[in-house]
């Protein structure tokens, strides 16, 4: 889960000061200014800002949102997401595969064929066996979400454990381009797994070691060049792309200079001043910039929904939250509008685990309290009294970054108000998720946020599914083991993505049950800023609900 946790904290002052000095000395990376004038030798460029550097630009290693945002247009896999705003952007379309797969053998055998005449960005032809190599490489390089592969593809676990030299469940034919993948059991979200950049094809002669500074060739509109670790990199238009002509994937007009700028204030200033073209959507605008955006940049600023949920987990394995009334009290007392303000407005209050827009998000009212209200402390106090847990000590965990630290302060204060004795344990964000996802830590209550791996309800349900409890890297932080949820998820997880709309009512029923059991106290869903420079066609820039702004749709006015 931590892999997709997005940092919201602005840079500490010291880092900001250093960044400012470095920038003043003209050493702040080689991204260049956002002037982006068309040159005689190539297309115009746009400067995109990132608040933090991608963890890796190697597709089979990168796991953070900044990494996937950069690589999803460089390393296409068999399938990808439609380049569209809103829920249309969650639809899967064939990318390097010629069509959507044929699923047979009780939904465990996926068969498809590669498009003809594909080439990597270095000109080498694409072979079906490159797909096997990409999956094997992701496993060997310990990609953070490799369990999606090892748990579902026949023979992938044996390959991971070095008991096999290849993955027996993947069969390819380089001559015909046919690819078949055998799953251990039906898994409806498997096409989403194939749409990860980590499943993007790379040549079979790519070294079996991470290549973050010299990423391998891929098939996609862009190729990555000139990587300056931690500072900048460039996405140039793939010279072979025009030949591929994959329907649904735009041909880019601008090369992209990506520059890391950790100071959010400077980031915003650079976009307002036209020195850069796109603000990092992972970082909320600081208050001053937010006011400036609303005042001066109304036509190039908007707030976009992202599939993310922010919540406090309530550990049901120990008092007081092994008591339903105690958990209900917490949810009743939540002042969600306060969290919205603490997040500078970038949080939409809500009570369900699944974010709005995702199939399964109920339209019915919340079982406990109104998300728009400031919380019913009196009722919560009564519930705490009735539960017999009043006066118990509760330790609230949280990461020491804005606004999560403030979330924890507010939550602890609320626990005090309803009758508990709350203490806070706010620790470094770099160690926080490692600590609370370790069951031995025994975290009683804590803040967490989860950004989807892919747009499927099953991805969010690992947060309260007892089958996902594990000693380290645990996803079910509440340690909830509810047969209704565990069995429900097991059944619904088998449905292919194409049948999700028909299963919406079942997911909604599960959502209502989960909300009534209050295993997690959901506070809301994060939203993201979309801010561009004046010269960019703001309306034409697609904001994918999965990977954020689609750089292939960046164009000048």
């Amino acid at each position: 889960m931590s892999s997709r946790m997005r940092s919201l904290s602005p840079a500490p002052l010291s880092i900001a000061a250093i960044a400012a000095i470095v920038a003043a000395l003209g050493l702040g990376g080689c991204g260049g200014s956002g002037g982006g004038a068309s040159t005689a030798s190539g297309p115009a460029s746009a400067t995109v800002l990132d608040g933090s550097a991608p963890d890796s630009l190697d597709p089979q290693v990168g796991i953070t949102t900044t990494s996937m945002e950069a690589t999803w247009n460089v390393y296409l896999g068999l399938y990808t997401y439609a380049r569209a705003n809103g829920s249309a952007g969650t639809h899967l379309i064939p990318a390097l595969a010629a069509e959507l797969p044929q699923v047979s053998d009780k939904d465990t055998l996926y068969t498809t064929t590669l498009r003809k005449g594909l080439h990597f960005s270095n000109g080498a032809p694409v072979k079906a066996s490159d797909f096997t190599y990409a999956i094997e490489r992701a496993i060997r390089l310990n990609w953070g979400d490799k369990s999606f592969l090892t748990e579902h593809i026949v023979g992938a676990e044996a390959f991971d454990e070095h008991k096999a030299s290849t993955i027996s469940g993947i069969q390819t034919d380089d001559g015909s381009g046919k690819i078949s993948i055998k799953l251990t059991s039906p898994y409806g979200a498997f096409l989403n797994v194939l749409a990860f950049p980590a499943a993007g094809l790379v040549p079979s002669n790519t070294p079996m070691k991470a290549q973050p500074n010299d990423p391998p060739p891929g098939v996609g509109p862009y190729e990555i060049e000139h990587v300056v670790p931690g500072k900048s990199f460039e996405e140039a238009i793939n010279p072979h792309w025009a030949k591929e002509a994959i329907p649904g994937i735009p041909t880019p007009q601008l090369t992209i200079d990506v520059k890391v700028q950790s100071n959010v204030g400077t980031q915003a200033d650079e976009v307002f001043d036209g020195e850069a073209d796109l603000y990092d959507w992972n970082t909320p605008l600081p208050p001053a910039a937010l006011q400036q955006a609303k005042r001066e940049a109304e036509d190039r600023y908007s707030v976009e929904s992202v599939a993310q949920v922010s919540f406090f987990f309530l550990n049901v394995s120990k008092p007081p939250f092994n008591n339903l009334q105690a958990r209900q009290a917490v949810v009743e007392a939540l002042n969600r509008p306060a969290y919205e303000r603490l997040a500078s407005g970038y949080l939409k209050p809500g009570c369900y685990l699944l974010p709005p827009g995702l199939i399964g998000h109920p339209s019915s009212p919340c079982p406990y309290g109104d998300p728009e209200s400031t919380g019913d402390v009196a009722k919560a106090k009564e519930l705490v009294q009735q539960s017999g847990t009043a006066g118990e000590e509760v330790t609230v965990w949280g990461p020491a970054e804005t606004p999560h630290r403030e979330f924890v302060d507010n939550f602890a204060q609320m626990l005090d108000a309803i009758g508990y004795k709350a203490k806070e344990k706010v620790i470094s964000p770099s160690t926080y998720y490692g600590a609370v996802t370790n069951v031995k830590t025994g975290a009683q209550v804590g803040f967490a946020e989860y950004t989807q791996d892919f747009p499927n309800p099953v991805d969010f349900y690992q947060l309260i599914d007892g089958d996902f409890i594990q000693p380290e890297g645990n996803h079910d932080l509440s340690l909830a083991r509810d047969p209704v949820i565990d069995n429900g998820v097991k059944e619904l997880a088998q449905l292919p993505a194409s049948e999700l709309p028909q299963a919406a009512s079942k997911w909604e029923a599960l959502e209502r049950h989960a909300a009534q059991q209050a295993y997690v106290a959901v506070i809301g869903y994060q939203e993201a800023p979309k801010l561009t420079s004046e010269r960019i066609d703001f309306g034409g820039l697609v904001f994918s609900p999965v990977y954020g702004p689609d750089w292939t749709t960046l164009k000048l006015k």
Binding site: P286, P337, R341, T402, V408, N410, Q413, V426
Partner: protein, 356 residues
């Protein structure tokens, strides 16, 4: 030279030192500022309960206050807290979670000063004990203690403090006979107290070595007194003036280090306030809510400058070399430049006097 002025080569009797101190307007001013800050911080609960009507941790994010007859958000919808109201509620404004900055400033001051005072005490006790052991017994024990102090001294104080603070912030420390939880104020006090031991311990050890060779110590030993008793009755009292000079300087450094550690998240743990944590939280909202940094910053500045001025004046009065410089400068009609803190081995060394 005034006939009543104490001899430069002789120790200053304590009463004379006190009179000299009272004659120094700088020292008086600095002392008054320190006392004022301490008294204000001690009155934090009274201020919180009877004037501000809110606690240091109470959040008021979605509440409104009346300013000039108009309702005003404590925290705006975009997350900007109100600035100083100059009224009893939110006198110095609110922070991002709608907490009263003035209340937290006073409670934070209590925490900062408590930690600094405790850390100074820990440093003094341990430094004196180690200096006596090393200087009196010498040999292997001296070497061991000196190398231990070198080891601590070789790490930058702030880095060492951060490393210890971050490590201990999660699980605290369990020494068997004493357990400190991660959020305990004793933890930063202990960390600061330990990292400053060489700062005081090394000059004190040098002083003990010097005293060890004094005639009055030889005389005491020849009278048949045992070594431990001589160390406590003859050496220890002669360290008093050194310790008195070091105390306010250590206090100032401890206040600063506590603020630094808390700023970096390795000192006082949330939600407890300290000036360092308040500045850290405030930097997130610069420049929209500059009061969040200014208020604790000015308090920190006042406390540290006052403690340093007091320490410098004390050193000038009690250190004969400083006094000699002062007299020469006065004779030439010069103004003394501010003195640098002594390096570890060159602490203030008033001449020895036999214990009376």
């Amino acid at each position: 030279m005034d006939a009543r002025a104490p001899s430069l080569s002789a120790p200053i009797p304590r009463r004379s030192a006190w009179r000299l101190l009272l004659a120094e307007p700088t020292a008086i001013g600095a002392g008054c500022v320190l006392v004022l800050i301490v008294v204000l911080c001690l009155l934090a609960p009274v201020y919180a309960k009877d004037i501000a009507h809110t606690g240091p941790d109470a959040t008021h994010v979605t509440e409104t206050i009346s300013l000039g007859g108009h309702p005003h958000d404590v925290v705006s919808p975009t997350g900007v807290p109100t600035g100083p109201t100059w009224h009893s509620r939110f006198l110095l404004g609110a922070d991002k979670t709608g907490r009263d900055v003035a209340v937290r400033l006073l409670y934070g001051g209590r925490n900062s000063l408590e930690i600094a005072a405790l850390a100074t005490l820990i440093t003094m006790v341990l430094a004196i004990a180690l200096a006596l052991l090393a200087g009196w017994f010498g040999g292997f024990l001296d070497t061991l203690i000196c190398r231990l102090m070198d080891l601590i001294w070789s790490y930058p104080v702030l880095l060492l403090g951060v490393a210890l603070g971050v490590t201990l912030a999660i699980d605290g420390i369990d020494l068997g006979f004493v357990t400190l939880h991660g959020g305990s104020l004793l933890l930063p006090a202990l960390i600061i107290g330990v990292v400053y031991i060489p700062y005081m311990g090394r000059p004190l050890r040098a002083r003990v070595l010097e005293l060890r060779r004094s005639e009055f110590v030889d005389a005491a030993l020849q009278q048949g007194l045992n070594g431990g008793r001589v160390a406590l009755s003859e050496i220890l009292p002669n360290l008093t003036s050194n310790v008195v000079v070091f105390a306010p300087l250590l206090l100032a450094n401890a206040i600063l280090l506590e603020a630094g550690l808390s700023f970096l998240g390795a000192g006082v743990q949330a939600p407890a306030p300290s000036w360092g944590t308040m500045i850290s939280e405030g930097t997130q909202l610069m420049p929209e809510a500059i009061h969040l940094v200014l208020a604790p910053g000015l308090m920190l500045l006042a406390a540290v400058v006052a403690a340093n001025l007091l320490g410098d004046t004390l050193r000038d009065l009690l250190d004969p070399r400083s006094r000699r410089r002062r007299v020469r400068a006065s004779a030439r009609g010069l103004t003394l430049a501010p003195l640098e803190l002594p390096p570890p081995e060159a602490g203030p060394m008033p001449p020895a006097e036999p214990a009376r």
